[in-house]
Subunit: 439 residues, 2 copies
């Protein structure tokens, strides 16, 4: 009997590795942060002596979910202005609020809350774009989450910097500070083609190449953005970024709502990863991204929540349900994005889009132990005939019971093991009272 940290078991283990069917009465052995074995629970129980057993009968084990596009700290602006168009929402509400409140302390505290919410909902990795990256990184790391943190770059001044060059300098310093960290991957994030010039995009690309880090941008989120780019540059945002050599497999492009067939070809050819944010896109009435054509052309499409200010939560289970349903109706094809595909988008494809396919996104020997256990013993999950279908069309993030990141058990029995979530929520309410002028 070999000593290991954990044996995680369930009625089903869904590895999400290519071609591997659901493993009945399965288990995963975890040691030193890694997955070291996968098999039937009876077999693994005779091989490994676990310091702690996680999961058990009536549970399903799956890879930790990936939130491929968010602005974690915006969770403090959850619902601050709803039922408005994107530009009005951004220009009249979000940017002024950010201008007034953003600083290191805000970002640290808010990121802590966002990590709390995401972990509880089974998200183990997130791809962020925001400012004060050092604070995001410290908060995420303290919460035990895996994160790609994109230092935001704009052409105009905010609380974070005065001009593009200063944002880029700060981003470079942030990258130097965090490069090589086990949980935090620093990245650089030019905001969008309507807020960053082609020159700014080129500079961020050079920085990313210098340090070998990923890039993260908003792309073709609204029809307005596309028509502005065509007026200004004579081409669409996707064509513009392709022409300057920005697009490749190190880039995560969030949204891609307004992309033509030709632009989908560009995304496929360059290997650009897409973070599809259906709930945010619907709520802001930005439109519905052509995900079915993207998938047909081989574009890697992952799922993102966007910030909680436009969503208004950070729930990838819910994004799966929306994505799997909405694209059936939009494409007129009820077989489009089946349950397995939706779960792949939220796990293996999420990891691939972030360049982390060797580390997370599936349950495979040698990968980091980023694992979620959910309870099946609930009326809304009973009975069921297909486990993938159950997860995508019936399960809620609230069914998640245990969450492990990098081999560390962070949530068990639905409770945070190392953090006081009530203190984190109290801090959030204190900030909210300040922001709303209630104190």
């Amino acid at each position: 009997m070999r000593d290991v940290d954990y044996v995680v078991s369930g009625d089903y283990v869904l590895t999400m590795a290519e071609g591997v069917p659901p493993l009945r009465n399965g288990a995963v052995a975890v040691s030193g942060g890694k997955i070291i074995d996968i098999g039937e629970v009876s077999a693994l129980s005779s091989l490994y002596n676990a310091k702690k057993r996680v999961g058990g009968g009536g549970k399903v084990v799956l890879p930790g979910l990936v939130n491929a596009h968010t602005h974690a700290a915006m969770v403090y602006f959850r619902g601050i202005a709803d039922d408005l168009p994107l530009r009005q929402w951004l220009q009249e509400h979000i940017w002024p609020a950010e201008g007034k409140w953003l600083n290191d302390e805000f970002v640290y505290d808010a990121t802590e809350l966002a990590c709390c919410e995401m972990l509880k909902a089974g998200v183990t990795t997130f791809n962020d774009m925001y400012f004060f990256g050092g604070s995001s990184a410290r908060a995420s790391k303290k919460m035990g989450m895996r994160a790609v943190l994109g230092a935001g770059v704009l052409d105009f001044p905010t609380a974070a910097a005065r001009n593009a060059d200063e944002y880029i300098e700060k981003a470079e310093q942030f990258i130097k500070d965090w490069l090589g960290d086990e949980l935090i991957t620093p990245s650089i994030a030019p905001h969008a083609p309507y807020t960053c010039s082609p020159d700014t995009y080129k500079k961020t690309k050079l920085v990313a190449e210098r340090y070998g880090v990923p890039l993260h941008t908003h792309l073709s989120e609204t029809q307005f953005e596309v028509s502005e780019a065509k007026k200004k540059y004579g081409k669409s945002p996707v064509e513009l970024l392709d022409d300057i050599g920005f697009l490749d497999k190190t880039v995560v492009a969030a949204h891609c709502v307004w992309v033509s067939d030709n632009e989908i070809e560009i995304l496929a050819r360059t290997g650009t990863g897409v973070a599809h944010c259906i709930e945010s896109n619907l709520k802001l009435a930005s439109g519905i991204a052509p995900v079915v054509p993207m998938l047909k052309k081989g574009v890697a499409v992952a799922l993102g929540t966007d910030g909680a200010a436009s969503n208004n939560d950070l729930d990838i289970f819910s994004e799966m349900s929306f994505s799997a349903r909405v694209h059936k109706a939009v494409s007129g094809d009820p077989t489009a994005i089946n349950a397995f595909s939706a779960l792949s988008m939220a796990t293996s494809t999420g990891a691939r889009v972030l360049g982390m396919q060797d580390k997370t996104g599936t349950i495979e020997i040698g990968k980091s132990a980023d694992i979620v256990v959910a309870d099946l013993d609930k009326p809304h999950l009973t009975p069921f005939y297909d486990i993938y279908s159950l997860i995508v069309y019936s399960m809620k993030s609230s069914d998640v019971e245990s969450v492990m990141v990098n081999g560390k058990l962070l949530i068990d029995g639905g409770k945070y093991l190392h953090k006081d979530s009530h203190a984190i929520m109290d801090k959030a309410r204190w900030w909210k009272n300040k922001i709303a002028g209630e104190v």
Copy 2:
């Protein structure tokens, strides 16, 4: 101090009564099944001596939700066949399964499970269409739920009856058996214009009029249904039912996905209630109902889950989130179906569509105490700036903590008080193993 059964309180009481703003630190006094007072918790505490206090700080109190269209007993077919078109799903999977398994015992056991799921998710009233109505009624009543149970009518034989006349006879007997019950309202439910002739529709209408009970039908769910009706009758399903005098305010028409502007006028003019089932319609790729135009023309649109076999759950919180989001993108108007409207569709409009506006759907003095308490003290609900927005865009059915129907507390602290949900789930798994041929 007057003795009452309950005082239900929360940081907010949302009465959903017209023109009444959220009541901060509010409370509701309940006695003899009815709401007898509403006010600030401090005021009510000095007026009433409650046998039990429900809710409290960090909670929100709202009317019980209304599920305006479902087939409760189909919960046993949850996910039996997914990612398929409606006709194939119905003809190759659902009808054969129903043909094989439907009987009184199945319907009783399955309805019990559906009630379990709905109650836990804050649904206190549901509008059903199925067969073996006596069993549905006994199960729903035993579970303590309010239900309008439509005895299904078809022109072809099933396990329930041999022909239209036999279905109608059975429906009439069912109506006689249950008329006047406090919780159960019997109704009659011609299935759809593609499965019932105009003559059958006319006969059901006569029965409904004779006993003063509501009608429930599927209407214009798929494009195929509309084109078939046009071929067969030279008019659309809505026009057909209008021409024979079927449509009026006693009718709940589920779906109404494929309705023209002119047909929307008909629905508005006749006062026909619509049960919008967005999640089911999306998942079957049936289409997206023109809800924004319907609301503009004054059609009463409530929310329904449809059966769990096509949804795959019975969750009205989730239907609110889908409806409020999808119709923004489809109409291109981010102000369409704001959070308050979505919650109205799920509560007050739901009750109105079922002809129960004097009994449920809002928290008002004299109405039955159908009340839900949800917890606000969760990371995904923190912080918030608008309580309606929080409920529609961030809250999940799993945040429901206490549920009262007709003044009886059925769920408290998230637990069933009078029922053993594990026994109900065990029974469901036993049936599932039989259905899937695993025993």
